[in-house]
């Protein structure tokens, strides 16, 4: 239902002013190709600055690509960006347009502006607020809500006035597990009842693994892989992730530990290693016995997650993606 071909967008270079250095031109999406089928929950996964928001802004007609095409339900969005508003609902990363409205008025106004008449808009507003458990705070302005509540209220606005495609830019940022579950069951219900398609931006690996049908991994503007979460994980199926948490610091005086240092991803007291199963067994044996054990606080062995896939694919952010 949504076909993207050769989509490229470069942010122009900014010349530095006195004192402040300029920024070079930046290719934020680079020859992106995607196909999203109807009824799919399709994810874009990637680190901060990978170009996810830039990509979806081009799909929603908010930004003109330098080159390439976007076709949604048979409509050419590059030539007719105004049609996007009649095909899809967009939840952006920012909420400043709604900030000073009450939850209920934000949802109702959005419904009206999506072409519903007053009665339908009110009815859908009430249904969506009930569905998401927002009814108790319906009368409060968004500005005075917590970050997660505000995000949920914006999500509610995106659902009023049904659209066949939902484009959600990090919808669950800052939400607690209950609110997240409300979001995903609302998405699932629409998909089951109406075949709604969802394009979801996230950098939350756990979320990506649990809710997505397919995921495209984006890195520095390019799609470096696109598959189902389990399909992606199969690419690193031969590996095991070992995490070592040291008490104070790694005991580098132990030669076996020192030898591992090159291959470990260090973050504070934590070392993360991706190893073949036999290697992992040796490492665990080494650190749980002998001199290294005294310095060890905790360790875990895990099958690979999407994060490992991302790293194995050579993602730029070697520190990994943000975890929930």
């Amino acid at each position: 239902m949504c076909a993207v071909r050769g989509l490229t967008k470069t942010y122009p270079a900014v010349r530095g002013r006195r004192g402040a250095p300029g920024t070079p031109a930046l290719r934020a999406t680079d020859d992106v190709r995607l196909d999203i089928a109807q009824g799919e929950i399709f994810g874009l996964l990637g680190p901060n600055g990978a170009g996810k928001t830039t990509l979806v802004r081009q799909l929603t007609g908010l930004m003109r690509p330098d080159s390439g095409s976007v076709e949604i339900l048979g409509h050419d969005i590059v030539c007719h960006p105004e049609r996007a508003a009649r095909i899809l609902a967009y939840l952006g990363q920012e909420s400043s347009a709604l900030d000073e409205l009450t939850v209920s008025l934000a949802a109702e106004t959005t419904g009206r502006l999506r072409g519903l008449d007053a009665r339908r808009a009110r009815a859908e507003r009430d249904a969506v607020l009930d569905e998401l458990g927002l009814a108790p705070i319906a009368g409060r302005p968004l500005k005075k809500l917590s970050g997660g509540q505000r995000r949920l209220a914006c999500f509610a606005s995106a659902l009023v006035g049904e659209r066949p495609l939902l484009v959600l830019d990090e919808p669950t940022t800052g939400m607690d597990p209950v609110a997240r579950r409300a979001v995903w069951s609302a998405v699932d219900r629409r998909r089951a009842e109406r075949g709604t398609t969802v394009l979801l931006v996230t950098h939350n690996v756990i979320e990506a693994e649990t809710v997505l049908d397919r995921v495209a991994v984006l890195d520095r503007g390019r799609v470096i892989a696109c598959d189902t979460p389990s399909g992606l994980k199969e690419r690193v199926a031969g590996e095991v992730r070992v995490e070592l948490l040291w008490r104070e610091r790694a005991p580098l005086e132990v030669p076996e530990v020192a030898a591992l240092q090159d291959r470990a991803l260090e973050s504070g007291r934590r070392w993360t290693l991706r190893l073949a199963p036999e290697e992992a067994r040796t490492v665990v044996a080494t650190v749980t016995g002998g001199a290294a054990f005294a310095a060890l606080d905790d360790f875990t062995l895990a099958t690979p997650s999407l994060e490992d896939v991302y790293l194995a694919l050579g993602g730029a952010a070697q520190k990994g993606l943000v975890k929930a």
Binding site: A3, I87, S96, A97, R112, G115
Partner: protein
């Protein structure tokens, strides 16, 4: 998490490229101008209740303060009429020009325009709804200022009803200008600055008696849309108001209003798709 595989969904098919060769799907409804204008107006008015009431007080007190100061300077007559009219229209300039320029400047900078741009709403509805709401906020402050001014300077209140025409027409002209400045300014600080400058100009050029000013300033005064609202209002304090001139001044406001709102709508369209 999903309980339903995509293959069994209504119309679902997971084949790639399934869209090609199929007729384009029907588009969702478009929001019509008038209902969406009303929806934006209502939303903006409620924003005011939350956030703008203190500022409205500031605007009113500022105008009343100016009139009290000017009482020592002007000695009744035409000058007093100009001061009262100028101070009343200043409330409109404060809210419609200054605050609206700030609002649109910030909305644009923070990406808030994306929200409206991804809804099938005519650009004119967003601009007119917001401008109308901001012009409406000014009603109480303007009325209070005008009445206070009449009491302070002993002017007749017989023709205060003219505010019914002055507020919307001066409001349209100034709100259109404010919205256009806010949407065209490359940075939000610049939008704020332009709004403030516009208001300062309305203050200096509208409140201070015109015939004491040098030629250049009087020319600038003629360029400012609020001037015509001030003049129309000031004329009605006379013994026998020249209604023809009042209408003429109001017509200028109306024309400037139409033009500036059209420019603001164009600016909105430009700002929404970057």
């Amino acid at each position: 998490m999903s309980v339903v595989p995509a293959e069994v969904l209504p119309g679902g098919a997971l084949a790639a490229d399934e869209t090609s060769g199929r007729a384009p799907a029907a588009l969702g409804p478009r929001a019509r101008l008038w209902p969406s204008l009303c929806a934006v107006y209502r939303a903006q008015l409620s924003r005011a209740r939350v956030a703008r009431i203190p500022l409205l007080f500031v605007a009113t007190f500022q105008s009343i303060g100016i009139m009290i100061l000017m009482r020592g300077v002007v000695d009744g007559g035409a000058e007093a009429q100009a001061v009262v009219a100028g101070s009343s229209v200043l409330v409109v300039a404060f809210v419609a020009l200054n605050l609206l320029a700030q609002y649109f400047g910030q909305l644009r900078a923070s990406g808030g325009l994306d929200h409206y741009a991804t809804l099938p709403v005519p650009p004119a509805a967003v601009v007119l709804g917001a401008a109308g709401a901001y012009a409406s906020f000014t009603v109480p402050g303007t009325v209070v200022t005008a009445v206070t001014g009449c009491l302070l300077f002993g002017l007749p209140m017989t023709h205060l009803w003219i505010l019914v025409a002055v507020i919307p027409l001066a409001g349209a002209a100034l709100a259109g200008l404010g919205a256009a400045l806010g949407l065209l300014a490359p940075r939000p600080e610049l939008a704020t600055l332009l709004g403030q400058l516009g208001m300062s100009a309305a203050l200096l050029l509208g409140v201070l008696p015109a015939d004491r000013m040098p030629e250049v300033v009087r020319f600038a005064r003629d360029l400012l849309p609020s001037t015509y609202g001030v003049e129309a209002f000031a004329r009605t304090f006379g013994e026998a108001p020249a209604w023809g001139f009042v209408l003429g001044d109001l017509a200028v406001c109306a024309v400037v209003g139409v033009v500036s709102l059209a420019v603001a709508t164009w600016a909105y369209r430009r700002a929404a798709v970057r």
